[in-house]
């Protein structure tokens, strides 16, 4: 089939060559195949000095946030160019080193809803990965029903006063700032919520990590007692926070679906199967049922990665991505959980270890990952909430 090269296609090709050359010169090969981290406190794989060098190189280029304006630490590139960068990184097994919740969620939200001063102050440190942000959305009584949140926010003339609690706040114990939703009007539900930026050093904030079923956690409870927040830290209008929060959640879903995709390469089940399970004379897993289920999972996972690729290609081609983000998030979560289930099944009795010398570090890690994977379908909007969104917004089904 003949396709005539449009002038802009040539420009994309030129840019691609430029990206390739730059990545070739700057990406440390020792980090090839390592996952993107959501937080600077996730476990590092590979030499820490290479991580630091890679992060500094990307930050200096503005390619951690390629589409952001240059004045806010970005590179002022088009979506198409950003897709080229992402594609070229994926091609060589590189990863985006300054991924964070600030970058993934708050940044795009502030670009749209923040005032000039808020953008100028908060975006550049995010783009350089100097400031860690956490997300104060969930509360004990308001998880999936987010709009029922109660954290009280009173107008005290020259400041806002916060009282109440947040929960499931990822990395709150390592964060410098928090973006949160608070209740500024108790007489209405959705229209009584405001969006605030809060310095975690402010007196009255108490952070307590929550131990989870795998023994560790990055989730925290955050308590607010008479916390004074400057007036200028309100984003948008008073009581206008719900719209901003919803948009932020869209960015979160997109970001999470991409992260899952990147992590899909981390745990390769076939070598684990061959190490822990018997094979027959032809090299096939002797347990036919397990072999069938492993194949089924790997095939669905393969199709999931192809779907991420198709979305990226659609973006590069300038067409609207056809797979809804809510759908992608659920598939990605399901793949991660299936992978965890199969891993512990393949490892068998050796996957029952909790701690100590009787189990290899890899075995303990697999078991911990399996337990941890149960949160994939809860955080970032539960599996059920994503299905509600798909049904209503993508399929146009009526609300109850």
């Amino acid at each position: 089939m003949s396709t005539s090269a449009a002038p802009d296609a040539e420009a994309v090709d030129d840019f691609r060559r430029e990206v390739r050359a730059w990545l070739g010169a700057n990406f440390p090969p020792s980090l090839k195949g390592h996952p993107a981290l959501l937080s600077g406190h996730d476990e590092l794989h590979g030499p820490p000095e290479d991580h630091a060098r890679w992060k500094a190189a990307i930050a200096g280029k503005g390619w951690g946030v390629p589409t952001w304006p240059v004045e806010y630490g970005g590179a002022g590139l088009s979506d198409e160019q950003a897709d080229v960068i992402a594609g070229e990184m994926e091609r060589i097994g590189a990863f985006q080193p300054i991924m964070s919740m600030g970058l993934m969620m708050l940044g795009p939200t502030l670009l749209e809803f923040g005032n000039k001063e808020q953008k100028r102050r908060h975006l550049p440190p995010i783009a350089r990965s100097e400031m860690q942000w956490c997300q104060g959305f969930s509360e004990p009584g308001a998880g999936s029903d987010l709009a029922s949140l109660r954290l009280r926010c009173e107008d005290r003339g020259d400041h806002w006063l916060l009282n109440g609690q947040k929960i499931w706040t990822s990395y709150a114990h390592h964060s410098d700032w928090c973006f949160l939703l608070a209740r500024t009007d108790t007489s209405v539900k959705h229209r009584g919520i405001s969006f605030l930026l809060v310095d975690m050093e402010t007196p009255g904030i108490d952070v307590r990590p929550i131990e989870l079923i795998n023994g560790i956690s990055h989730f925290c409870e955050v308590f607010f007692s008479d916390v004074r927040v400057p007036k200028e830290n309100l984003v948008g209008e008073v009581n206008g926070g719900w719209t901003i929060g919803k948009r932020l959640l869209q960015h979160e879903r997109t970001g999470l679906s991409r992260l899952r995709g990147a992590k899909a390469h981390v745990l390769d089940l076939v070598p684990i199967a061959r190490r822990y399970q018997e094979t027959d004379a032809d090299g096939r897993l002797a347990d036919g049922d397990l072999r069938g289920r492993l194949a089924e999972h790997l095939m669905t996972d393969h199709a999931y990665r192809l779907t991420l690729e198709r979305r990226r290609d659609e973006g590069e081609a300038g067409t609207k991505p056809t797979t809804p983000v809510s759908t992608l998030k659920n598939i990605g979560a399901a793949m991660g959980q299936q992978r965890g289930e199969l891993a512990v099944e393949l490892v068998g009795l050796n996957s029952l270890g909790w701690a100590g010398d009787g189990y290899s570090a890899e075995e303990l890690e697999l078991t911990s990952q399996w337990l941890h994977s149960k949160c994939y379908s809860i955080y970032g909007g539960s599996h059920e909430i994503q299905n509600n969104i798909t049904a209503r917004h993508e399929l146009g089904l009526p609300s109850d």
Binding site: M1, T3, V270, A273, R274, T279, G283, R284, L285, R291, G292, L294, A295, E296, L298, M299, T300, H302, A303, Y304, L306, T307, E309, R310, D313, E314, E316, A317, T319, T322, T323, P324, S326, T327, L328, N330, I331, E384, Q386, N387, N388, T390, A391, R392, E394, L395, G396, L397, P398, S399, D400
Partner: protein, 374 residues
């Protein structure tokens, strides 16, 4: 290689969609159940229109008289035909038999059959399966050598498009391995009986009784056809998976429409979360299948080394998804979905038949595992 559609591909898709909706809605499939068309298993007049639009030559290279537009283009056409369950020998004859002749046919075989396949004047069907299990590596059907001739004895069933075929490409076991023979449907000792399939398409039981063919009937080298057959089947599987994706999408769209409009307990049933969530899960299946189908077709066009594994991925996912969607189409429509008058049953029956064609989901799961090294 891109998984997004180009402008040219979008035009091909839209043309096929328009034709299928206007000229071959599901009522055309229902007509196949009547005597006149039941004998062929497709409507020759519709097939002639498809040939006129060039679809029968899409995957055949220009050097061989085709249009050389590639398998991604063929897949987009097949996907639109799948939406209304158009029955035709397009994939069996123009894609699979065409690919075998292009890859391994002699100059004489090509000259005799390719122009007719491309013109839609002739249907060439692959006589491969022999019983309940699809397994091209374990054929029982032998061809024996007698002097300069080959003699074929045995039964092939089901032969897809067999009722309408003008010639068969017969897969046999010969002393050197797997061999393919090109045998006219009126060849010596060849007889066929129509098999009436649930999907109303034309399959046949074909008997070869002392069928004597000259050496010129052999396609390629004796005993060396396994790789050719495998590659041609993968082309057929990938395009068929595209057709199945189209069927699944149409069944899904119809079901969503029904959920929006059918009122029970004083509200549209689509307002019930139990049904909303099942609909959302089906959408995920469809999206995964679409990616797998595009990737398989693009890999074939690019000559990618992974094309076999991707073809199995696409065919298995298409089988799984179409069956799931068709079952939910019946279930969510309730009693009306069980009636012959409603189209749900047509999709369900086609889902079963298409899944079984050239290896069902279980066959391809096994093949995928083997090709992945476990």
């Amino acid at each position: 290689m891109t998984l997004a559609l180009t402008e040219e591909q979008t035009m091909i898709r839209d043309a096929a969609a328009g034709w299928a909706a206007e000229r071959a809605p599901t009522t055309a499939l229902r007509a196949l159940r009547k005597e006149a068309l039941a004998a062929t298993g497709h409507d020759p007049a519709l097939y002639a229109e498809m040939a006129e639009m060039g679809w029968t030559g899409v995957t055949i290279p220009e050097a061989e008289g085709g249009f050389g537009m590639g398998f991604a283009a063929a897949g987009l056409i097949a996907e639109q035909l799948g939406r209304t369950l158009v029955a035709s020998p397009l994939i069996g004859s123009a894609v699979v038999a065409g690919a075998i002749l292009v890859m391994a046919g002699s100059a004489e075989q090509k000259a005799a059959w390719l122009p007719r396949i491309i013109a839609g004047d002739a249907v060439v069907a692959l006589a491969l399966d022999e019983g309940p299990r699809h397994d091209p590596t374990r054929l029982a059907f032998d061809a024996r050598c007698e002097g300069a001739d080959w003699v074929l004895d045995g039964v092939k069933r089901p032969v897809f498009d067999g009722t309408a075929a003008d010639a068969f490409i017969v897969a046999t076991r010969t002393p050197g391995g797997l061999s393919l023979f090109l045998c006219p449907a009126d060849g010596p000792g060849v007889s066929r009986a129509a098999l009436r399939q649930i999907d109303s398409r034309g399959a046949a039981l074909v008997t070869f009784a002392g069928c004597r063919l000259g050496a010129e009937a052999l396609i390629g080298a004796e005993g060396k056809a396994a790789a050719v057959l495998d590659r041609a089947l993968d082309r057929g599987r990938a395009v068929l998976a595209a057709e199945m994706l189209g069927s699944a999408q149409a069944a899904f769209d119809a079901t969503i429409d029904y959920l929006r409009t059918r009122v029970q307990f004083d509200k549209p049933i689509g307002a019930f979360q139990a049904l909303q969530h099942r609909a959302a899960e089906l959408l995920a299946e469809l999206e995964l299948t679409r990616s797998a189908v595009r990737a398989a077709l693009a890999a074939i066009d690019a000559g990618d080394a992974d094309e076999a594994r991707l073809a199995s991925l696409a065919k298995a996912l298409a089988g799984r998804t179409l069956r799931k969607v068709a079952q939910e189409m019946v279930q969510m429509h309730g009693g009306i979905g069980m009636t012959d008058e409603h189209d749900a049953g047509l999709y369900l029956k086609r889902a079963q038949a298409a899944d079984m064609t050239w290896g069902n989901a279980a066959f391809h799961r096994d093949r995928y595992a083997r090709l992945s090294g476990f």
